[in-house]
């Protein structure tokens, strides 16, 4: 007997932002500001081959209700971030169970601090899933810049 597929009648939220920032500010009135949206990150290479460099950015992810009606976003949501290394290996999976959303909320903004320890330069992709549905892929190109040597006069 075929399994009956579960149907969720509430419209799916729409993505409003999925980007990396150096800082995300939350104002007193609830308005967010994204400071320096980045898709490149320059960092010194790890000092030794078996060590890693630390990349620290904020993932700024926002959704809006599709019809702006009360209750559309209400309930529990699961946000999942899946990182892919430049070598196309699935690196880290973060699951964030978001606090239960009340009836009057029509937008959902999340800021997540990501501290990545990397030893490979290149483009790292982060796949953004909300409730199991892929909404975006966020690229971050990590560039290793050699440290400048002091000049002796």
């Amino acid at each position: 007997m075929a399994k009956k597929k579960q149907v969720n009648d509430s419209p799916k939220p729409l993505l409003s932002v999925a980007a990396f920032c150096l800082q995300v500010l939350n104002g007193n009135d609830g308005s967010f500001s994204g400071i320096r949206f980045v898709d490149h990150y320059h960092i010194q290479p790890p000092p030794a081959p078996d060590e890693r460099s630390l990349v620290s950015v904020w993932a700024f992810i926002g959704f809006k209700s599709r019809t702006f009606t009360m209750g559309e976003l209400a309930g529990d949501h699961l946000l999942r971030l899946v990182l892919w290394t430049p070598g196309r290996k699935k690196k880290i999976v973060h699951d964030f169970r978001l606090p239960s959303i009340s009836e009057d909320v029509t937008a959902l903004n999340v800021r997540i601090k990501l501290d990545l320890k990397v030893k490979t330069a290149g483009v790292w992709w982060t796949n953004v899933f909300l409730d199991g549905r892929l909404h975006a892929r966020m690229p971050l190109r990590i560039v290793f810049v050699p440290a400048l040597e002091p000049v002796n006069n």
Binding site: L14, L15, S16, V17, A18, A19, C21, G27, S31, F32, S33, G34, I35, R36, F37, V38, D39, G62, K64, R66, F68, W84, R88, T106, A107, V123, W125, A136, R137, M138, P139, L140, R141
Partner: protein, 148 residues
């Protein structure tokens, strides 16, 4: 060809992907190409009398739309259209062709929001790429008739 390019593989393939579709009070563009979106909003109250229906209303907000290419190479039509609160009228606001070069490259569109005033209420800004809706941005506009 475009269909083949959209095929989703592991990692960063597929695309284009929405990066941001925001209304904010200010956008600061830096010399190195990064930008900051200051105070994202979704409602405004003007302390003046409401204008006549059909008047073009210049809002103090900036519309920021950006996409990442993913594995897509080629051009797509970006259409930004505004639906009024009654849902009757659908105004094309901005239309342009944008080119993608694949990978982590992308495109950013930035403009000040101007719309044809109809009535107080929520206007919807639709972001469509090749007729596919990627996002909708609500902006609730009200005039309270009180001159400041």
């Amino acid at each position: 060809m475009a269909r083949a390019n959209r095929r989703i593989k592991k990692g960063g393939a597929g695309g284009p992907f929405l990066d941001s579709a925001l209304l904010c009070e200010q956008v600061i563009c830096e010399h190195d190409g990064t930008y900051s979106a200051i105070r994202m909003i979704n409602r405004i109250t003007f302390h003046t009398e409401a204008p006549a229906t059909g008047v073009m209303l210049m809002t103090p907000f900036w519309l920021l739309v950006s996409f990442k290419a993913g594995s897509f190479n080629g051009s797509q039509d970006l259409l930004i259209a505004i639906e009024d609160p009654s849902g009757r009228s659908y105004q094309p606001f901005h239309s342009l062709q944008i080119a993608f070069s694949g990978g982590d490259t992308g495109q950013v569109a930035l403009c000040q929001l101007m719309l044809r005033y109809d009535i107080d209420g929520t206007y919807w800004i639709d972001i469509l790429l090749n007729r596919k809706r990627f996002s909708r941005i609500p902006i609730s506009i009200a005039f309270d008739g009180q001159t400041s």
